[in-house]
């Protein structure tokens, strides 16, 4: 055991140096790091939101909305396909929409084959051979039914979520915050982490709005009595108005916010804050046509299902740009402009979990954690020295190297240090020391049994190693389960604990053995003080 082959010594030294190399950026100021040559690592330890302050939001999509949007789009598609069927429009009646199905009856049975052919085109899967269809078409006589398949629903949700992540990213970027972390979790959830954010209210306001902008014609023929009862004529719908009351508008939108290319804060003719917008070229053309055809009639500007204003079209709007005015402040106008610029969310997202930590609480936590870690290390070191003398020194050196290794590996792999992670680090000190306690106590025992120093140390290390291995495997099992089941901060704890246990076995067993072996070979002591 005292013979350490050269390669072993070198690999131990190399491991320790590599740890030091990875840990180094944490001890250097930012200015040095920026001018450092490329071969030096620059990754500092990642601090969790609980330590540097910031907001963690978990959002969940209401998937019913996705299905509803999909069915509405399907309805639009079916209507337009049946209008442009080869050989003249097919007429139908009793179009009804369920949760996941759309049914209609073909008025003239002679049109059935043409209608089926047209609708088959609708249900034809995109992507050619092997693609799975999103909707199934079936018919019972002249009653045709389109049903969304579970694959189709899953795909719709998936693409809506992917799009939602992009929209959220654009919106948060507009806030000018640094390095937001936006990740999908599971099928219908998105986790948003924004470090260093002072006011999560603004963030939540930005994320929580769908920002679906629509322009619809006002149904001027609607019966005011029916309207008061909340009923609208066929083809129209009743919507609440921002300033109070309700308004009947045509179901079909002239144009939607999807075709917006820009939106900015500006001011209206009364010099009040307002939001200007501009359509892309197709959108601009459609807007021009629609306004041209409806001069003199009012149209409604609708945001998230609420009528913001319903101005009269005085003249065709040809430039593809317009202004939304209402009772805005600069701040709310700016928020709306951001929302319109970044596009509408394909699903409604609700905040189901929020954890926000102010930056000064984070700083307090770091300070408390650092004090506790340093103090714990010093006290444990003193205790080890008093109890085991020279061998205590070896374990203190091992403890220090273990700290460097954990720091280095965590910086290197980009793991995040959380507050429970600091606690995990303090616990690792305990675990690291335990290995040395086991070894040293075993050596004491062997000395008591009358073994010579070298033989006692040898037996001590060998016998204790097995125990150390078994004891630490159980800790790693516990940590692995924490990692698998835990959320956020707990994961941070599990990472530090696992890393710390592995590195501590290396430093507390291998490194101290090397130190002890070199000393024993050099001095060949006749008696051991332990």
């Amino acid at each position: 055991m005292l013979d350490f082959p050269k390669w072993k010594i070198w690999s131990i030294a190399a491991t320790l140096l590599f740890g030091l190399y990875l840990a180094m950026p944490n001890f250097l100021p930012e200015s040095v790091l920026r001018s450092a040559p490329d071969i030096l690592p620059t990754k500092q330890l990642n601090l969790g939101l609980d330590l540097r302050g910031g907001s963690h939001l978990m959002l969940e999509a209401t998937t019913d909305d996705v299905l509803k949007t999909k069915m509405e789009a399907l309805e639009d598609l079916v209507r337009s396909e049946l209008r442009v069927v080869e050989g003249g429009a097919v007429s139908y009646r009793d179009l009804s929409m369920g949760k996941d199905r759309l049914s209609l009856t073909i008025t003239n049975p002679a049109d059935l084959d043409r209608a089926l052919a047209a609708l088959r085109k609708v249900t034809q899967p995109a992507g050619g051979f092997g693609a799975v269809r999103d909707t199934d078409l079936s018919n019972n006589g002249t009653r045709l039914t389109l049903t969304a398949t579970s694959d189709g629903v899953a795909r719709a949700i998936d693409s809506a979520m992917a799009q939602a992540v992009e929209v959220i990213r654009r919106r948060i970027d507009e806030l000018g915050t640094r390095e937001p972390n936006i990740i999908r979790q599971g099928d219908t959830r998105i986790v948003v982490q924004v470090p260093g954010l002072q006011d999560p209210a603004a963030l939540k306001a930005l994320i929580g709005k769908t920002a679906k902008l629509e322009f619809k014609l006002v149904d001027v023929d609607a019966d005011p009595v029916m309207l008061a009862e909340g009923r609208a004529p066929p083809g129209s719908q009743v919507l609440p108005v921002l300033e109070g009351g309700t308004l009947a508008v045509k179901r079909r939108a002239i144009i939607s916010g999807d075709q917006l290319v820009d939106s900015q804060v500006s001011s209206d003719q009364n010099n009040q804050p307002a939001v200007s917008f501009r359509f892309d070229s197709t959108g601009g053309r459609r807007f021009a046509q629609a306004t041209q055809a409806n001069v003199g009639r009012p149209f409604a500007i609708i945001l998230d299902g609420i009528v913001i204003s319903a101005p009269r079209i005085n003249e065709p709007i040809l430039g593809g740009a317009g202004i939304i005015s209402g009772s805005y402040t600069i701040a709310t106008a700016n928020e709306l402009a951001i929302l319109l610029r970044s596009g509408k969310l394909p699903v409604e997202l609700k905040v189901i979990e929020e954890r926000t930590v102010g930056p000064d609480l984070g700083a307090d936590s770091i300070r408390a954690g650092a004090i506790a870690s340093v103090l714990a290390t010093v006290l444990v070191a003193v205790f080890m020295l008093v109890t085991y003398g020279r061998f205590g020194w070896y374990s203190v050196i091992a403890l220090f190297l273990n700290g460097i290794l954990v720091l280095g590996i965590m910086s290197g792999i980009g793991a995040t240090l959380t507050l429970p992670g600091i606690a995990g680090f303090v616990l690792t000190i305990g675990a690291a020391v335990d290995a040395n306690v086991l070894i040293n106590e075993r050596i004491r025992e062997e000395l008591r049994r009358g073994r010579a120093p070298i033989s006692a140390v040898e037996t001590g290390y060998r016998e204790a190693s097995r125990t150390i291995f078994d004891a630490n495997v159980t800790n790693v099992i516990a940590a692995a389960i924490m990692f698998a089941f835990g959320s956020g901060p707990i994961k941070g704890f599990a990472v530090v604990l696992t890393l710390g246990i592995i590195t501590s076995v290396f430093t507390a067993v291998t490194v101290t053995r090397l130190l002890a072996a070199r000393w024993l070979r050099r001095t060949r002591p006749a008696a051991l003080v332990l």
Binding site: E353, T356, G369, P420, A423, R448, A479, I481, I490
Partner: protein, 323 residues
Amino acid sequence: MRLLKLVPDNTNIGFLRWRNVAVGISLLMILGSIVLVGFRGLNFGVDFAGGLMMEVRFENAAKVDALRRTVNAAGEGASSIQTFGDANTVSIRLPLPPGDEAAVQVAVKRIQDAITADSPDAQFRRVETVSGKVSGELIQAGGLAILFAMIGISIYIWLRFEWQFGVGALFALVHDVAITMGFFAITQMEFDLNIVAAVLTIVGYSLNDTIVVYDRVRENLRKYRKMGITEILDLSLNETLPRTIVTSLTMIIALGTLVLFGGTVLFGFSVAMLLGIIIGTYSSIFIAAPILVWLGVGPSSFLAADSSAESRLRPQQRSERKG
């Protein structure tokens, strides 16, 4: 230099003599803990109960009563407000408001606005809201994690030792976890995700301790074939006692600094760990070891293993005698 020896050489304490008393007390404590958790319940934090928690700091000492009126007027349901750490800081807890998943967000906004209107110097240091759905998932994940950790570790011990050791370790674990939970039920300290992490760590640590003892038991069973099981266990416990004491002390030192200086957020976690270390140490000596007697562990338990590869690797072990 004279080194510190906390346990004198040749200490010989008859731990096993007290096994009936110790296990009796432990069984009572486990039973009491279960009853306490069942009837008094745990004081679940926002993680598990849902609802909202805020830490608010004011420039001067917080007026808790006025604040309670403000919050209760703005929110739905009774708030619980306590000073937190120092007199200027309070923690506000509110149960899950009725309504859908987003209702708790609405409540946060209203309460924050109301507090800011009353005291513009209010600083929201921490805001946590958890909806009912998420808290349900967290409870489930936390419970499963503790259960799987206990089972996983017991299986590992069964594979490394014998089935009796696995059962003994599992029982010691149930003991430690139950009593820790009982402590949280008595003190009504907040039970949240951090505490689950603490319990899992206790599971790991307590096992660590148990394994050190079991490892020595196995070694001595092979060494002293003629010795009775209670003598073997007492010998093993006494031989490992110095290590048990020193390690527990270092853990207590490390955790003690966390309790005293680790800050308010880590306080509950550190207290749970500290308690767990003490219970875990006790259970390895007074629970895990005696169970081996009742489960019939004897010198023959490792006969099969003795003829296997492991003993052939270390033939010198058999000739050793205490010197």
